[in-house]
């Protein structure tokens, strides 16, 4: 049963082949048995899950039938859940129990999904290997010696290990796409403004976006259909009509032109990744899609721009953790300044502190124009690249990550940050006007590589 997709489970539940309570119990047992090796969950909410499952069964008995009714899922621990601890992977929020649900949580619950638990993640979503979590690293289920990617690494690992059929994630500079790629599952960073961020703990507000992770494109469509839509509680939520994503899956590829950016090939691209993408391109061609080479000339500036914009916005967003209103507070502060400085020194991990300091630098008097404003200008150049490309093509196709599932574990305490931006290149991180959606090409299990 654990191997079924959301769509398949939905049919099994509708046909009465199993109840949501049976299904939820089976997955909870699987989590109990396997997660000690993976560390994909920070909190398992078994009791609440079984209650929700019983409610779903009652709703079905009363005649309701929606695709997510009774299907167990997990939420990344960045989404606030009323009454269930929400940590964001940080000591700062270790004991934080939100008094409200995020809109995404509310909507998926309304659709009948059963929340089994909260998944592990890089602290405040800052990382691409899941090694910065206060709750310890997550292991890649295909190879426990490898990282699962990050920051939504717990969600990716849980979905890949068949602990849940689907989970939510968030993506600022690759945090859904990259772990989806490294764990061999599907993930989608929706268009900015499509999915409400109310109750989603902020990292970099001009980039953050929540989205689904699952094992098929159909499941992503089902999840996104339930998550997306205007929310007046999120001031950046877009008011626009929603298509029927599931219906769109049936459209033939023959009508589509796929753009393949030459900048995404060569350079740091690992030959095995390149070969997997070439095979995917050939598959799309056989299905009738036209392929056209395109250029995104400012691609190489995306990562430097990202590493200005994201830390700058993070330094501002994370100013709220002051030891006064919620979260961690240091012991015996001698005055207010000491309270702030020690709370933040003790509550944040090294990576988060580094990014706050970088952001503080980029926004400080005398440097704002040279860094933040410059990056905002570069971002317009990058967006223009995409607008030009989309005048010619319907979709853009490329590798999610230049390198295969990395690297053996770094000794604890060493910094992985510089490693990630040269090798992992979160492509198009600052042009969120187009939604990137990785799907598995090649299995992480088949790969054995030397990692630099």
């Amino acid at each position: 049963m654990h191997d079924l997709t959301v769509a398949e489970l939905s049919r099994a539940l509708a046909r009465g082949e199993c109840s949501s309570v049976e299904l939820t119990r089976a997955l909870l047992a699987r989590i109990e048995r396997l997660d000690a090796q993976l560390n994909a969950f920070i909190t398992v909410a078994a009791e609440q899950a079984l209650e929700q499952a019983a409610q779903a069964d009652a709703r079905r008995a009363a005649g309701e039938c929606s695709p997510l009714l009774g299907v167990p899922i997990a939420h990344k621990d960045i989404f606030c859940t009323r009454g269930i601890r929400t940590t964001c992977g940080s000591r700062m929020l270790d004991g934080f129990v939100p008094p409200y649900d995020a809109t995404v949580v509310e909507r998926l619950a309304a659709a009948g999904a059963v929340l089994v638990g909260k998944t592990n993640m890089d602290e405040f979503a800052m990382g691409s290997s899941n090694e910065t979590s206060y709750y310890g690293p997550v292991r890649n289920p295909w190879d426990l010696e490898r990282v699962p990617g990050g920051s939504s690494g717990g969600s990716a690992a849980a979905v890949a290990a068949r602990l849940v059929p689907a989970a939510t994630g968030t993506d600022t500079g690759g945090s859904i796409r990259q772990p989806a790629a490294l764990c061999g599952v599907c993930g989608l960073k929706p268009t900015y403004g499509l999915v409400s961020r109310y109750g989603m703990i902020a990292f970099a507000s001009s980039l953050d976006q929540g989205g689904p992770m699952a094992r098929s494109a159909e499941d992503l469509a089902i999840l996104l259909g339930a998550m997306a839509g205007f929310d007046e509680r999120d001031s950046t939520s877009a008011e626009r009509p929603l298509p029927d994503y599931r219906k769109a899956l049936d459209e033939p590829l023959a009508s589509l032109t796929l753009g393949v950016p030459r900048e995404y090939f060569g350079g740091a691209l690992h030959p095995q990744v390149g070969a997997a993408v070439e095979a995917a391109i050939a598959q799309f061609q056989r299905e009738g899609a036209r392929i056209r080479e395109i250029s995104l000339p400012h691609s190489s500036l995306a990562v430097p721009a990202y590493y200005v914009i994201a830390p700058a916005e993070a330094s501002s967003n994370l100013a709220r953790y002051d030891g006064v209103r919620y979260g961690y507070r240091c012991a015996d502060p001698k005055d207010l300044d000491d309270l702030y400085c020690r709370t933040r020194a003790e509550g944040f991990g090294a990576e988060v502190k580094r990014r706050i300091l970088v952001g503080t630098y980029c926004l400080s008097a005398g440097y704002y124009d040279a860094y933040y404003e410059k990056a905002q200008r570069v971002r317009r150049l990058i967006r223009q690249d995409f607008l030009d490309a989309f005048a010619e093509v319907d979709l853009i196709l490329g590798p999610t990550r230049a390198q295969p599932p990395p690297f053996p574990w770094a000794p604890r305490g060493t910094t992985r940050w510089p490693c990630t931006w040269k090798t992992c290149t979160p492509f198009r991180p600052v042009s969120p006007a187009c939604p990137p959606c990785p799907s598995p090409a090649g299995s992480p299990r088949d790969c054995r590589w030397d990692c630099s």
């Binding site: 900015y192 507070r329 000491d338 300091l357 971002r379």
Partner: protein, 95 residues
């Protein structure tokens, strides 16, 4: 510009994060690496290019000036590390 001890002290103060002496060399190294990377932006030709703050060029939405949320003071105060009589408690600010 290269990061040195005095810049780190200034940033740590602005960000309200205490940095112990033992941490300084590692912070210095990592900030220098990051700044070297983001300095690649300086070569980008951006003359006459407007900064982009929102990918869809959206404008801030306005809503009627009316109370939309009920009183949840007790729920929020319950999250505070220290609260009393409806107030957040902090160390003494005024002597």
């Amino acid at each position: 510009m290269a990061v040195d001890r005095s810049l780190i002290d200034k940033l740590a103060h602005l960000a309200r994060i205490r940095i112990d002496d033992a941490e300084v060399p590692e912070v210095e190294r990592s900030l220098n690496r990051v700044l070297a990377l983001i300095d690649e932006l300086q070569a980008a030709p951006t003359e006459g290019v407007e900064p982009l703050a929102h990918p869809l060029d959206a404008r801030q939405r306005l809503r009627p000036d009316a109370v939309t949320e009920g009183d949840r003071r007790e729920a929020y105060l319950a999250l505070a590390p220290a609260a009393e009589a409806g107030l957040f408690l902090v160390p003494k600010v005024i002597e």
